[in-house]
């Protein structure tokens, strides 16, 4: 993926028909000046979707702000992304009162993919943060229960299969294409 594409991925919404979203967006941007980057934060064309780019060390503050100010309790999920140089964690929330889905994004550098976990604030993220650590190698520091979640027990430590550059060193993807029964002694 090239630089230009990653920019055009953001489809800003027009002001009309998105008044509620813009009102919330402006309020948040004003309240969180310094914690949230303007670049990467926008109101999406799809109705009721807001995206915020958060600084990695400010994530806990931002989540706490949303929880206190906007009564945000519905934690949806967390999805990882591989952007090339950076790895990204997308926290998806839903504000039940305004009925708006917000996404908080954290970019962490590939060589030191760490940021502080928010599982102690919102227990709902226990499994997904573990999953992010396993599949992308992004480490939520301070996670209360770090453990194996999705991958098999014998999975090597330094392999993160969802990263784009994971090249399947052990031929696992090819192996799954074999068919037909084995000989009795091979089992």
């Amino acid at each position: 993926m090239t630089e230009t594409e990653s920019v055009t991925e953001h489809h800003m919404a027009p002001e009309e028909e998105h008044e509620e979203e813009y009102a919330l967006f402006r309020q948040v941007m004003a309240d969180l000046e310094g914690d949230v980057l303007i670049e990467g934060s926008y109101v999406h064309k799809q109705p009721r979707r807001l995206f915020f780019q958060v600084l990695p060390d400010k994530l806990r503050d931002v989540v706490q702000y949303f929880m206190t100010t906007h009564d945000m309790w519905q934690a949806s999920t967390l999805s990882g992304r591989d952007l090339g140089d950076d790895l990204q964690a997308n926290y998806h929330f839903f504000l039940n009162d305004q009925k708006i889905a917000i996404t908080l994004r954290v970019n962490v550098p590939r060589n030191k993919p760490e940021y502080s976990s928010i599982t102690d604030l919102m227990p709902a993220f226990e499994f997904v943060e573990n999953e992010l650590r396993e599949l992308f190698g992004v480490i939520p520091v301070g996670h209360p229960k770090p453990r194996r979640c999705e991958l098999p027990e014998n999975w090597p430590k330094n392999e993160y299969p969802m990263r784009k550059d994971w090249a399947d060193p052990r031929g696992l993807m090819q192996r799954s294409k074999t068919t037909g029964p084995k000989k009795p002694e091979e089992y």
Binding site: S6, S79, T103, L151, P161
Partner: protein, 406 residues
Amino acid sequence: MTESDEPRIVIPPRVTIPIGPQHPALKEPGMFKLTVEGERIIDAEVNIGYNHRSIEKIAEGRTFLQVLYLAERICGICSATHNGTLAQAVEAAAEVEIPERAKFIRTLTWELERIHSHILWLGVAFHEVGFDTAFMYSWRDREVVMDLLETLSGNRVNYAMNTIGGVRRDVTDSLKETLLKGLDKLEERMKYYRDVAIYEKTFWNRVDGVGVLPNKIAKSHGAVGPTGRGSNVPTDVRFNDPTQAYVHLRDSGEFEMVLSDREDVAGRAIVRVVETIEAVRMCRWLLHNLPDGPIRERVRPRIQPNEVLARYEAPRGEVIHYLVTNGSDKPERWKVRAPTHANWVSMAYTLRGGYLADAPIILAAIDPCFSCTDRVVLVDAEDETIQLKPLDVLRAESNKWYESRT
């Protein structure tokens, strides 16, 4: 016998009981380590990942249309859910508006699926508490809705109704009649099961006050779907963030979110049963108000770069598809969050302090769906053939066949 000076306190031994990965209460692999003292559960630990099929990774190598079929196979029970939600996500990314009729038919499939899934759950719940007669009866009546789905889509489980830009099959007038007739029967039967679930004393005793999930905990632990609604948490995407024909359903004012403040398994059961009756009414409304028009819109295979968060209320709760496109015909990143995944955390909470005998019904109460949870993504239509041939061989053979024809 000598009398000891100090009274000894006897603590029952702590036994760790593994439930799973294979256990008759779970039709799917998942592992719950329950630490029990006598019959009381002291601690519960959820261990998943037995079903991890790396669907998200496979999807990155497939085109959108292929991923659509793969999405269907994330979960066999809510196949229309993932299939439809992905189609919705791709349409949103391509910024295409699909015809009204397609929206209605898509919603109809979803609601019929909800009926089938809830009856399935009801049967499983009866089975978990050893009420096999009601289990058999409810699954017998589930065949009615399975038949309706089969006549509608041609398949019993993986419906493949949705495609990018609309739906694949139309609802004819005669089919409409059949559906309406079947819905009448279903409504009658569901009212009967509602009464069974509420007034059958032995069943009620097993679910009343069991697996209590207080409203506050449900909120902080992110419970969704009937699990959350059974604890009076108003999370229902159909009303909070409607898409497709749900906008019309909500605007018609005839339907409301089903909530229960019982906070236990009984509450979840009631929410599910009442929701099924609501779903039958919704189906009927959709059929009566079905607009005319085309059922499909053409969408170009290459989707512009975009990022989309598609949500839908599956039978088990909120499904989220986070789709990032990059201008090619393959997804850049596709994340699926199935509802069960959100309910694990709260379930471990509800297990603690309960009886061992209640563990199966508590587990079943969230309607766990491990296959949704342990992520997957990808599909080969050719593999549906019966022969056990590698894909490459098949491809070579098909090439030869075409060569021989020309």
